[in-house]
């Protein structure tokens, strides 16, 4: 007896696939994102082939009096962080002179992660909820804040970079002239920079001022460098505000691994 081969009609096939697509669309994002992460997890070796190619192709300079651009950036970031730390400690010493301050236990943990895939304004890293990663945690690259955790699965996560418009962080703009900080909110421009929004023009802000991620309970305990102001002009649409552009401290192509700031909570 001949076997009857099941072959649905073209219309049945089309409608079935369409319904499958609608089901996929209706399943919550935190469930379907596991598929995306699984794909990256399986093929992570192949996906990383060719990364940082431009950086590693740079010829090495043997002169003892000069360093590579990447090394310069790394040292500059370290210097900026130290400067912020010194400034913060000075302020604390001033306060300690008046009142005894009970400094909370830093208890800050860093979870190191490798970048398994690079997308536009986004990194996929090989750490997840199993390593206590949660949405919103800050991510460091070359010691600068480069973004925050967006989606988390058990062993893989996505990081929205500060150049992404989906990433909004509270920042402090250092003002060495008045020995103070101005507060603001940074948002990516979806290119290679970011903007600081709604800063009143009454604040004396100039090009070159450093921008730090503001401390946030449970997320970040001391300011961390994000970048520096590359352009500060009067906002064309609202002349009482500044239009501030920020150049991030990192070069995304140079970063091979990152560290996620995980504040450890004490067990009850």
């Amino acid at each position: 007896m001949a076997r009857v081969r099941f072959k649905p009609s073209k219309l049945t096939l089309f409608v079935s696939f369409l319904l499958t697509g609608l089901i996929l669309l209706l399943i919550p994002q935190n469930v379907t994102s596991r598929l995306n992460f699984a794909f990256i997890d399986i093929f992570s070796f192949f996906l990383n082939i060719g990364s940082s190619a431009a950086y590693y192709q740079n010829p090495e300079n043997n002169s003892p009096f000069s360093v590579s651009r990447h090394e310069y950036n790394r040292l500059w970031v370290t210097y900026s962080n130290l400067q912020a730390k010194v400034f913060e400690q000075k302020r604390q010493i001033d306060q300690l002179g008046r009142v005894r301050m009970t400094e909370p236990d830093p208890a800050t943990g860093l979870v190191l992660a490798n970048i398994v895939n690079r997308r536009k304004n986004e990194f996929i890293i090989n750490r997840g909820s199993a390593d206590n990663l949660k949405k919103g945690q800050y991510v460091l690259g070359d010691n600068a804040v480069i973004g925050c955790i967006e989606q988390v699965s058990a062993d893989i996560s996505s990081v929205k970079l500060i150049t992404s418009s989906a990433c909004k962080l509270h920042v402090k703009i250092s003002a060495p002239d008045v020995n103070s900080y101005f507060n603001g909110t940074i948002q990516g421009d979806d290119k290679d920079g970011a903007k600081i929004l709604n800063v009143p023009k009454k604040y004396k802000i100039k090009d070159g001022f450093y921008v730090y991620a503001a401390p946030k309970p449970g997320i970040l305990q001391s300011p961390r460098i994000i970048g520096r102001i590359s352009r500060c002009v009067v906002d064309e649409t609202n002349p009482v505000l500044w239009d501030i552009s920020v150049k991030p401290a990192y070069e995304s192509d140079d970063i091979a691994d990152v560290a996620v700031i995980v504040i450890k909570t004490e067990p009850d």
Partner: protein, 173 residues
């Protein structure tokens, strides 16, 4: 159509599309890259019979979703528009490379527009592609078609497609 070979090809292209190696082809600080899955969508819609084109379109849409951030939008948009192209080519032959490049350009804009709307419904924070970027990717993919047509054609022949629909199909020889 040799479906096992097609599965291998689609995985290969999905990995290539997502890999850092594609950054070598990226342009401007927006990192505009060609969409190889889009090129394949148009190629198979033009050269396969419409039944296979339906399956292939949805399969390529699934690959586009799994390499992106949201599951579903590309599955639907590639499926609908790929099927539509497969039917349109019954009226317009789309034989010349220029016509195919134009089809890639239009299909690229339509698929991304539909996918963006659907992605916005599911995960608004992840649907951030701008109009310029959509047009630029479609243009880049259409231009790239002139350069890689022979390669895609060779892959198509390996899969058992690529013979013009008025000619003899490979499995009928």
């Amino acid at each position: 159509m040799r479906w096992w070979r097609f599965t291998f090809l689609i995985i290969l292209v999905a990995v290539l599309q997502t890999s850092a190696a594609m950054n070598l082809l990226s342009l401007t600080d927006l990192r505009i890259k060609p969409d190889i899955l889009l090129i394949l969508l148009v190629y198979f819609a033009v050269y396969c019979d419409s039944y296979d084109a339906v399956i292939i379109s949805f399969a390529l849409g699934f690959a586009a979703d799994i390499t992106g951030a949201v599951m579903g939008p590309h599955f639907i948009s590639y499926g609908i528009i790929g099927t539509a192209v497969a039917h349109i080519r019954k009226i317009i032959l789309l034989k010349t490379t220029r016509q195919q490049a134009l089809t890639i350009f239009i299909t690229g804009i339509l698929t991304e527009a539909v996918a963006l709307v659907l992605a916005g419904l599911k995960a608004p924070g992840l649907a951030k592609t701008g109009v310029f970027e959509v047009v630029a990717v479609a243009t880049y993919s259409a231009i790239l078609w002139f350069l890689i047509k022979w390669l895609v054609g060779a892959a198509g022949k390996w899969l058992g497609v690529g013979v013009h629909r008025f000619g003899t199909r490979i499995d009928e020889r």
